[in-house]
Symmetry: C2
Subunit: 231 residues, 2 copies
Amino acid sequence: MYKIEFSDFFSSAFSVDCLIFGFTEGKIKTLLIKRSIEPYKDYWAIPGDLVYPDEDLPLAAERILRELTGLTNVQMHQAHTFGSPSRHPQGRVITIAYYALVRIEELSIKASSWADEVRWEPVLEVGDLAFDHNEILEATFDRLNKQLSIEPICFELLPEKFTLNEFQQLFEYSKGIPFDKANFRKKIKGIPLVKHTEKQTNVKHRPANLFSFNTCKELDRLEENEWAFKM
Amino acid sequence: MYKIEFSDFFSSAFSVDCLIFGFTEGKIKTLLIKRSIEPYKDYWAIPGDLVYPDEDLPLAAERILRELTGLTNVQMHQAHTFGSPSRHPQGRVITIAYYALVRIEELSIKASSWADEVRWEPVLEVGDLAFDHNEILEATFDRLNKQLSIEPICFELLPEKFTLNEFQQLFEYSKGIPFDKANFRKKIKGIPLVKHTEKQTNVKHRPANLFSFNTCKELDRLEENEWAFKM
DNA sequence: GCAAAAGTGTTTGGATTACACCCATGC
DNA sequence: GCATGGGTGTAATCCAAACACTTTTGC
């Protein structure tokens, strides 16, 4: 019935790649590592590795991210699967992309295992990466952008306390177009924000107010179907 | 560096599952096959099979759908990948879900290979399926529903000529809520439809007008960024 | 005072909602 | 005639875009 023996189907490997996105200085950035081993030694790459044959995918994604960058407690979501027969020089390796959103300032990352260095690179400025990682990054960033428009996940990228301008810049980078300040602020009126008494410091203009998301309130309302996030 | 030999990673198999969605009688339906072989012999299942170690994923999806159901020329899109180590009783098999939208009336399907029967089943009424196929169906139907709201793919589900009521019913089934007829028709004013002189027949009430989508015009406008589909 | 960015108000036109009403067909 | 769904109009309301304006800080 099959053109090969049934047992010969069990000859492939698979890997996960972890696309970690953060936001600073008005740009969405992604975490890259420098490979210290072949293939693609000394190339920059998305953190990723082979999955053990008895390992579940989400756990593998956590483990691999931790081993290469030291990051823990990062909630990852599955994106696209890439399976071109020629994408890996050492055999058939299907890779499943996972992505996560993090607050860059709250993290300490450090290269380990076979990662020589780690770096945050603005998504729109990355150069040539190992394997088909440019394609993977592009597809996953597209997906992130779509998600940002329909689900309240921008909260995970912004710092704990942020200005409304930073909030706006995040969406401007995501969509690639500038927004009108007044209209943007009217639009987000429906989102439950907490205003702090504390203000921005060390700026040579009028200091902006700092806000946080009221996560509890927001989740309550989501459950009650009182609002649909839409940007 | 690894806990097992490098070569031992190459011991997994992977499959694709093809979720084919259609729309008739006011319901979105999916194509199921009855398995004639173990495991899960005589269970209903999503059409799917193992991918050859040197075969590309999209081509495998086409081949497998053709072998089991006779369907050809169906454009498939990748959805989620399911990889729980215990999901297949005969070894580690990762499965990648692909989905497609088709016009049921234009197709002739017939069971072949190890499929005993094929059947169109309303998505919201399917019973227990083989493997983790209920989970796969649910996740993929969710994804389809989201896509229906943001991209003009409803065209692929409706018959070539359709009534505005059928159009409305498709979205009502997708969202699970009824719409106001007059308002629905105002909303779709922006979509380029062609009205036929021909009308509905064999109904015991006033016959409805038949419409088709003006695909060319629609694509032109998409390219010019003149409209964003939103339902 | 001036530059720079924070922050707000007003107008306008287009979309969304709720609801009522008329029309064509089979029986 | 009447049941059944097809098809349309209106008024109230909400929302988004465009744009101008005021405020607060550092220098």
